[in-house]
């Protein structure tokens, strides 16, 4: 994605790209929006906003490139710029501090939990979902993009506008945090 290059579209072309390439992704976009905002109305607003922007800036979309990654990027940026600003509860942690810490080398250390495969498989959907939703939004996001939406690291780097090494370390940290949550949960329920 060069990003800067503009493509002239006629009105019909705009409508056809919108109809055939963008609208079929509404399901994935809505689910992503919901997992970011954890609220149905906010998710709807965010998706509408994303489509409005996509239509307005359609000339920076190169036909034949990955429309899904492009739309996810717009949605993620809208979330950061508008939604997060409005949100009543400000982020509890200083993000840059967290990032600096988590990008340090010790990120690659394996954390050992006493979680076992069978324990995980016995968990019901709500437990997994709650553990995921309980992660800080930046950590939640990488897991959603990678595990639920199947994006590759390079696509995630573009969507999130971060270097690929940061994608890798953030994902690593996110998964460790998720494992810790699941393990704590399993202990509480007496599974472990």
């Amino acid at each position: 994605m060069s990003g800067e290059e503009k493509h002239k579209y006629t009105q019909e072309e705009k409508e056809s790209v919108f109809e055939s390439e963008f609208l079929p992704l509404v399901d994935s976009l809505y689910n992503f929006a919901y997992r970011l905002t954890l609220n149905e109305d906010d998710a709807k607003d965010l998706v509408q906003d994303t489509y409005m922007k996509a239509f307005r800036f359609i000339e920076s979309f190169e036909k034949g490139t990955n429309a899904k990654a492009w739309l996810f990027r717009i949605l993620k940026n809208s979330f950061i710029n508008e939604f997060r600003k409005k949100s009543k509860e400000p982020s509890k942690v200083d993000y840059h501090e967290v990032e600096a810490f988590y990008n340090s080398d010790d990120v690659d250390e394996a954390i050992t939990t006493d979680l076992r495969v069978e324990t995980v498989q016995d968990m019901i959907g709500d437990e997994i979902s709650n553990a995921l939703n309980g992660l800080d939004v930046d950590f939640r996001t990488v897991i959603i993009l990678c595990d639920l939406e199947g994006f590759k690291y390079d696509e995630m780097a573009k969507i999130l506008n971060i270097p690929i090494g940061t994608v890798r370390s953030r994902l690593h940290r996110a998964r460790n945090l998720l494992k810790e949550k699941l393990s704590r949960y399993a202990k509480k329920m007496g599974y472990l």
Partner: protein, 82 residues
């Protein structure tokens, strides 16, 4: 051509990249060679796989609200008319 076996530390670093299919086939093979000999890695790999599968199967897709697409189309055709 036989390459040196991976160290345990290398393997730990590679684990997620293997699971996410972000390594080349040769690296993947070396990783799986290591798994045959290393019980902690083997267990960790299976646990991570199980968590991935649970996330995929248990985090249910939410239904898109009925009026969402029509409301998007409405807004677009209004703005397109300008």
């Amino acid at each position: 051509m036989k390459q040196d076996a991976l160290s345990h530390d290398d393997c730990v670093k590679m684990l997620y990249q293997v699971i996410d299919n972000e390594v080349c086939p040769e690296e993947k093979e070396r990783f799986h060679e290591h798994l045959k000999m290393c019980m902690p890695c083997f267990k960790e790999y299976n646990l991570e796989k199980a968590i991935r599968n649970m996330i995929r199967s248990k985090c249910k897709k939410r239904e898109v609200p009925n009026d969402l697409v029509s409301s998007i189309k409405g807004k677009i055709s209004n703005s397109g008319a300008v």
